[in-house]
């Protein structure tokens, strides 16, 4: 048996369509079998509610008198992109306020507009013969605009990696707060309730398909930016009219130490046309895998700590290296359920008609990293290899002499086995002299917790370490634990003299 989209739409119009939430589908299929489920269910509704940084809206403000060609535009002091046409702008959710920083970003402006609040529009221009006006500053509500059209370039990830952090300090990331020593795991996505996992071959999900977007009836434009469905990371580009949206399903947020972002409620209704749709929508959290990535490694290819299923992530604990680690989600499963329920009520009440894609997406496609021809400089390119070191048993006086002679401010301290055990600076020695009686040997006064780098670390990352720890040199230790150089702020200075750009 097969059902046509027309048949399903007729049932929707007549109020006879039966819709069920995606998380309920597996049990229905277990009970009725694939054929039975196909007969009984007309539409499966999906839903997700999570941080979607890649969100924003196009606005048309209408013309003022005299007219202005807005070259620069701010909405509540958050800059929008105005290089479009005279009175159009695109405001991105992650743009931060020029006066309030990340605590109020583009996302907050969008939420304010949807809430019905007035937003202060400020614009600048050089002035032209056709657009003589140079400045403008007014209050606008969403109703005062000709269009407020949300466009999310990349939305509704098929799956996303979960995050943990093996370093010894807390990281503040777009995946939330990550505690040191893999103290927690954070993940995003609604698992079996998310849209694409219910149609991984993108057969039913594609351009032109009507969706639920922040409470409004929106539409899928097509493949999202960076879409990589070939390896399980498909994304969607979506749009919807902000006038119809509700703050119930659109919320601004700020991740400490990272940025502002927008929480977007999105759901795709999937018409149950044939047995393949039934089988795909019967997916369970146990079947959906992702990996836990180590966000402590600041590289593009973050190491995977292990594979997990959404069922494990949602359980609240995951075992990592023999220990139970708490998991928590950034996206709201409760809200995702609300989205799918709302969509279900739209279908069953005849409010929403369904459509098949006007154009299919390429499911083989994978996204590739930046083609970066200029190799970024590594620590070994600029580190100082003429090492002056000292052993931990030597006297402070010897260290002082060596520092004076060695034209350096940092003396790496080695133990008997030549391993790096500390660092002594001119400051440590002055301190020791000033407060005499602290000890006589290097090991009494050295800094034991040494922050170090490796020869292959990117200079950017090493610089970040210097800044974060407020220090001026880093010992360079190779993979065998051997000290091979020292990187100082002076070496970095040379790098820029040579014309390398960060």
């Amino acid at each position: 048996m097969e059902k046509t989209i027309d048949l399903i739409n007729t049932r929707i119009r007549d109020g006879n369509a039966r819709a069920v939430r995606a998380d309920q589908m597996p049990d229905i299929v277990d009970e009725l079998g694939v054929e039975g489920a196909l007969r009984e269910v007309d539409v499966v509704t999906t839903g997700t509610f999570g941080a979607m940084c890649s969100s924003g809206a196009f606005f048309n403000f209408g013309h003022s008198d005299p007219p202005i060609r807005m070259e620069k535009v701010w909405m509540n002091e958050v800059e929008a992109y105005a290089g479009i046409a005279a009175v159009d702008a695109y405001l991105g959710a992650t743009q931060k306020s020029e006066t309030q920083g990340i605590s109020y970003g583009g996302a907050h402006v969008l939420e304010d507009l949807v809430a019905g609040n007035a937003v202060r529009l400020r614009a600048q221009s050089k002035g032209t013969d056709c657009y003589p006006r140079k400045t403008l500053e007014i209050e606008l509500t969403i109703e005062d605009m000709n269009q407020a059209t949300m466009v999310n370039p990349r939305n509704s990830y098929q799956s996303y990696v979960a995050a943990s952090n093996t370093t010894d300090r807390t990281l503040y990331t777009y995946m939330g707060t990550l505690l040191p020593n893999a103290g927690n795991i954070s993940y995003s996505g609604a698992g079996c309730l998310s849209p694409i996992p219910n149609d991984p071959n993108l057969r039913i999900i594609g351009s032109g398909v009507p969706i639920f977007l922040c409470g409004a009836e929106g539409m899928i434009i097509g493949e999202g930016t960076q879409a990589s469905p070939g390896n399980g990371f498909g994304t969607l580009m979506t749009t919807g009219n902000m006038n119809d949206m509700s703050t119930n399903f659109l919320r601004a947020a700020t991740f400490k130490g990272y940025n502002s972002t927008l929480y977007v409620g999105l759901g795709v209704p999937i018409p149950v046309l044939d047995e393949e749709v039934v089988r795909r929508t019967a997916v369970r959290d146990e079947d959906l895998k992702t990996s836990i990535a180590d966000y402590g490694v600041p590289n593009r290819n973050r190491p995977t700590l292990r594979e997990v299923t959404y069922a494990e992530l949602k359980s609240g604990h995951v075992e990592l290296d023999g220990e139970e680690v708490k998991t928590s989600s950034l996206s709201s499963y409760k809200k995702a359920l609300e989205v799918a329920d709302e969509l279900k009520s739209w279908v069953e009440s005849g409010k929403m008609q369904l459509a098949l894609p006007t154009r299919r997406m390429n499911t083989e496609k994978t996204s590739h990293p930046m083609r970066d021809r200029a190799r970024t400089p590594q620590v070994r390119d600029i580190m100082n290899t003429s090492l002056v070191t000292i052993s931990e048993d030597e006297s402070i006086q010897t260290a002082a002499k060596r520092l004076l002679r060695g034209e350096t401010n940092h003396l790496p301290v080695l133990d008997n086995a030549n391993r790096l055990v500390g660092i002594v600076t001119t400051f440590d020695i002055s301190k020791a002299v000033a407060s005499s009686g602290k000890g006589e040997k290097v090991c009494d006064i050295m800094t034991k917790r040494v922050v170090y780098t490796s020869p292959t670390e990117a200079v950017d990352v090493a610089t970040h370490k210097l800044e974060r720890n407020n220090i001026s040199a880093l010992p360079v230790v190779d993979e065998n634990g051997k000290l091979v150089g020292i990187l100082s702020a002076i070496d970095l200075g040379k790098l820029f003299e040579r014309g390398w750009k960060r």
Binding site: T177, S186, S332, Y333
Partner: protein, 128 residues
């Protein structure tokens, strides 16, 4: 029972905790302490039934004592029940119930503030 004890170092001359333990015989668990040059704040944990005797003893010594019952405050209109606060809490104060709604068991809270930082919706605050 957790108690938040505030005292000025001028007003409280004797060693507050030691003296209270000595006078009452109740064992006190200090969970957090912020001691400034002229004032201090302590979060202590004691058996529920000893709340009154400890409160009285400390107040007599010049300290102010507040029972910590609803230390974690959630702004329900801001909270979206994402759960980003759950895994950062060292005390398992925060959890989901069966409807994926955030539940807070404040009695275990040690006021570390991690959840406040972790909430993307700025929905959490601690007892002032």
């Amino acid at each position: 029972m957790k108690l938040l004890v505030t005292f000025s170092r001028k007003g409280v001359k004797q060693p507050l905790i030691a003296q209270t333990v000595k006078d009452t015989g109740v064992l006190i668990n200090v969970e957090r302490a912020f001691i400034e040059s002229n004032e201090g704040e302590l979060l202590i944990d004691i058996p529920d039934k000893e709340t009154k005797i400890i409160t009285d003893a400390m107040e007599k010594a010049g300290a102010r004592v507040k029972q910590m019952e609803d230390s974690v405050i959630r702004d329900e209109s801001e909270c979206v029940n994402c759960g980003a606060c759950i895994s950062v809490c060292p005390q398992d104060v925060l959890s989901f119930n069966e409807t994926w709604t955030l539940c807070i068991d404040s009695s275990k809270c040690v006021l570390c503030g991690k959840c406040v930082d972790a909430c993307p919706h700025q929905a959490l605050s601690l007892l002032p």
